[in-house]
Amino acid sequence: MVGVVTVCGAVAGALGALLGIGGGVFLVPFLNAFFGIDFKTAAAISLVTVIATSSAVSAGTTGRQLINLRLGMLLEVASAAGGVAAGVSIAHISDIALERAFAVATAGIALLMLSRLEQRNVIRDPAADPGPLGGRFHDEESGGEVVYQVRRLPIALAASFLAGNVSAAFGIGGGILKVPALNAWCGVPMRAAAATSSLMIGVTAVASVPIQYAHGYVKPPLAAAAVLGVLVGSRAGLWFAGRARAKWLKGLMAAVLVLVSLIYFRRSL
């Protein structure tokens, strides 16, 4: 069992690092649907691995200025609030209602992502003003320094709050909601959105996981196995992410969202 959990962790970690999400969205169905671990335990274990992915992936990304620290911290206000709120109130909402909502949201985001495959959000003029929350980084795809501005901040905050809710409820990082929202609506390039989200999900998970830990849902040996698997997997994913094209990443993300949506639609029937 421990070996299986480690392998699941490695696969989820690789996919997660590649997409700038925690990978929990893969780990929860693996553990819950395929291996029969009850949902709350699977979600809690997954949430612990989200913290590991966040720290490991962020540490590997620093130095390239892809992580937008100011924007990330501002959005963490909303995502942590969402995590705390859901952590406290989740008992009053039925699982079915939550899973249906999640299925609808992921399907919607997948469509949005596909319709905006060409959007890059970058300004190829290093002298442009990024504004108070924007940023600049060296873009490997176009080979120069690029600038971006953050638009529609309230949408980013709302997406982060929702991501915090979903994170606590489903044991995922919530990057799967934030990254597409930041990219499609808020002017943040894919790589910067993914890097910023990777940093944020650690705090988002910590906003609810200590409560699950106190309740005994985090089974330490399984959590340890999953974390170690995710750490190995995320190294592989990170290596690959540096070489993949943004358009390709978006396509993969959309495919993953469709798959997750279908799984959750089936689960909620």
């Binding site: 590991a52 720290s55 490991a56 911290m73 206000v77 942590a80 650690g202 409560i211 340890a224 974390v227």
Partner: protein
């Protein structure tokens, strides 16, 4: 590179996160080996739980360090933003501790 203080800050955060991950991974790996070898052995539970607590503590330490950094940079808006995040995390840890 522009935005130098923030770039240095980012690198220091990177080192902090690596340290947290390495320490917790070593604790978890050792604990897991003990668990596989002899599940009831005394250090097993301690090692696994210590690893998990270090893991959960790392993002909290990052937020605390960020408060200090924004104070140093005199970015008061972000000092307040970061303190709000820290307060939210404190609420969660408080709830967790009272439910044990």
């Amino acid at each position: 590179m522009t935005d130098d203080p923030l770039a240095r800050f980012e690198q220091r955060l990177g080192r902090l996160l690596v340290s947290g991950v390495v320490v917790s991974a070593v604790l978890l790996a050792t604990g897991l080996l003990f668990w596989l070898w002899r599940p009831g052995a005394p250090p097993t539970a301690w090692l696994l739980n210590a690893g998990l607590i270090v893991l959960m503590g790392t993002p909290i330490v990052r937020v605390i360090v960020s408060v200090a950094e924004y104070v140093r940079l005199r970015e008061w808006v972000f000092v307040i933003v970061t303190l709000i995040v820290l307060t939210e995390l404190t609420v969660t840890v408080g709830v967790a501790l009272t439910r044990r």
